[in-house]
Amino acid sequence: MDHSLLAAALPGWPAHPIVIAAVVIGFYMAWNIGANDVANAMGTSVGSKALTFRQAVVVAAIFEFAGAVLVGSSVTDTVRQGIINPNDFAATPDVLMYGMLSALLAAAIWLNVATYFGQPVSTTHSIVGGVFGFGLVAGASSISWSTMGRIVASWFISPVASGLLGMLVFWLILKLIIRAKDPDLNAARYAPFFVFVVVFVLVLSVIYKGLKSVEFFREMQLGVALGWAAGIAVVGSIFSWFVIARIAREMAITEDAKFTFTERIFASLQILTACYVAFAHGANDVANAVGPLAAVYHIHTQGTVEMSVGVPIWILAFGGLGIVAGLIMMGWRVMRTIGTKITEITPSRGFAAQFAGATAVLVCSRMGMPVSTTHCLVGGVMGVALVRGVTAVDAKTVSNIFVSWIITVPIAAVLTIVIYGGFWLFVIR
């Protein structure tokens, strides 16, 4: 292929085969993430008919992209230079480029194989396993064992923390609303408070040290950030108050409809948590697609493994676009089938589980920890279930999750080593 054509069309474009391969596979990974995971965020809202699937796709696209661009840099940084130390490859930057490409390729292949066999596999575990595998073959000393240890610890802690939070939130809903004499009135009373919390956390995650490449955000003090977040959250909760008033006008609240009304309020609250999940998911999972790409691109354009500058915003946007492309092209299909099938979880439970899962993912994103959104959501559901919120969870699916959890890292690592071996034999040497 004549790369000079592409280079001429896009000035400054590094038309090197490795970069092109990383771009293509990275986009493919992002596409996969968008296609498969979007239903986790939006499924329950479509199921409860709070959103049409068309609206769900649009909302998911906006929030996935925003999450990826605004908060995606920390985790991307961890994937590109946290797990293995790039400085160990100062003399051989090519090796690191091929290694990152191998990790990306291995993760993409494993995801496809697993999906084919119906296994729920985490893209996060795949990519971390891949980079880790390359570290092993390149010399275990290049692996930052403390970072790797923290990441693995976060895989245990994040679902458990999400579970505890889900338990707490649903327990509050039970205590304040469902168990109350007038669940409908209490739901209307407390809903703006829930809105405040969600919007506050979301806004704070963006403006306080979120977007490092934008000076306005980088320089913002904690107090100012808290003020902004609180202000925007207040606007959000006032808005929600009007929405609830409208629902109340539309529905005649008879004695029997009290519960329906309560769940209607949670159904609209769940639109918010669905956005929250999409945002957190974009923020954490974009790294799985563009982390290795960022490393490859940086080494190629800068000619050095030194990655002191932040992840370029266009790389995050590129990953975000990939996710959006995947969810627009495939997500609608997933969502349409899911909408009719999820009836086993009511909006109040969905709200608690999604709030818990998204919060866990977002906190981990800000800490630069790549975690599995799915595992966090499952943790949230389990937490709700422990306070008797969920009747039945499919036993086979739960065991599938555990099995995939255990095998993904070793398989992605071995696959990376094999692919890197191929590169080493046929290209590098």
């Binding site: 498969n36 239903a39 499924g43 519960f259 899911i338 499952v378 279930a385 919120g389 039945a392």
Partner: protein, 224 residues
């Protein structure tokens, strides 16, 4: 396919209420059976017995489906063990009702005209106890939605309390009926007396088993 889609298992409450309904359908047949006994219509008794067997078999099928279904899920808001115990207790209700029909068919025993009123009252009460059970089972799905909290749950727990009281009423009517046929034992041949006794026991057993179901439902709902 999305993970979430496969994540939630089927809730057992719908099938559970269906099982209760089938069992209650068996119990409801006690009323026409009692009428047929009073009329001395043995052909009707035979037909009703067949119908009861069929209904009981259908209940059994539902029971097996539920067992199969809950073996595939993590049950979280209620225990698997409690459901199985409840199912087998309901099974006992249907069995007791069917036993009554079987005893009727063993011998063409006529009911003494003096006993008619007491007998009818007793049967009516037994069916009444079981109908409360159906009411509670129908509410289970709604209660699960509220995580077994709130007004509605309190109401259901009160109904369960009432079942115990109604069962006690049935006991009293059973004693009344028995006292009555022993009072006129001189007019009855001994075998007939033995059969009255067996009717009495079987019917009492239906109410007893229904009460046991209600108590198990209570543990299901309260959760300990």
């Amino acid at each position: 396919m999305s993970l979430l889609q496969k994540f939630f298992g089927t809730s057992p409450f719908g099938a559970l209420a269906e099982h209760t309904k089938k069992v209650h359908d068996c119990v409801k047949l006690l009323t026409p059976l009692a009428e047929a006994l009073i009329e001395g219509d043995h052909e009707a008794i035979e037909k009703l017995h067949h119908r009861m067997s069929k209904t009981e078999h259908e209940a059994d099928q539902i029971k097996n489906e539920i067992r199969e279904q809950i073996s595939k899920v993590f049950l979280l808001s209620i225990g698997r063990h409690e459901i199985l115990k409840f199912l087998s207790a309901q099974d006992d209700v249907a069995d007791a009702a069917e036993d009554f029909a079987v005893v009727m068919r063993l011998r063409k025993t006529a009911l003494h005209p003096d006993l008619k009123a007491d007998f009818q009252e007793f049967v009516k009460q037994v069916v009444y106890v079981s109908s409360h059970l159906l009411e509670v089972a129908d509410d289970l799905a709604v209660l699960a939605e509220a995580s077994f909290e709130g007004d509605r749950t309190q109401h259901v727990l009160e109904t369960i309390e009432k079942i115990s009281q109604e069962e006690w009423e049935a006991d009293k009517l059973q004693r009344k009926f028995a006292t009555h046929y022993y009072e006129i034992e001189d007019q009855l041949d001994p075998t007939t007396l033995v059969f009255y006794d067996r009717y009495c026991q079987r019917l009492g057993e239906v109410a007893n088993c229904a009460e046991k179901c209600a108590k198990l439902l209570r543990t299901l709902i309260v959760g300990d």
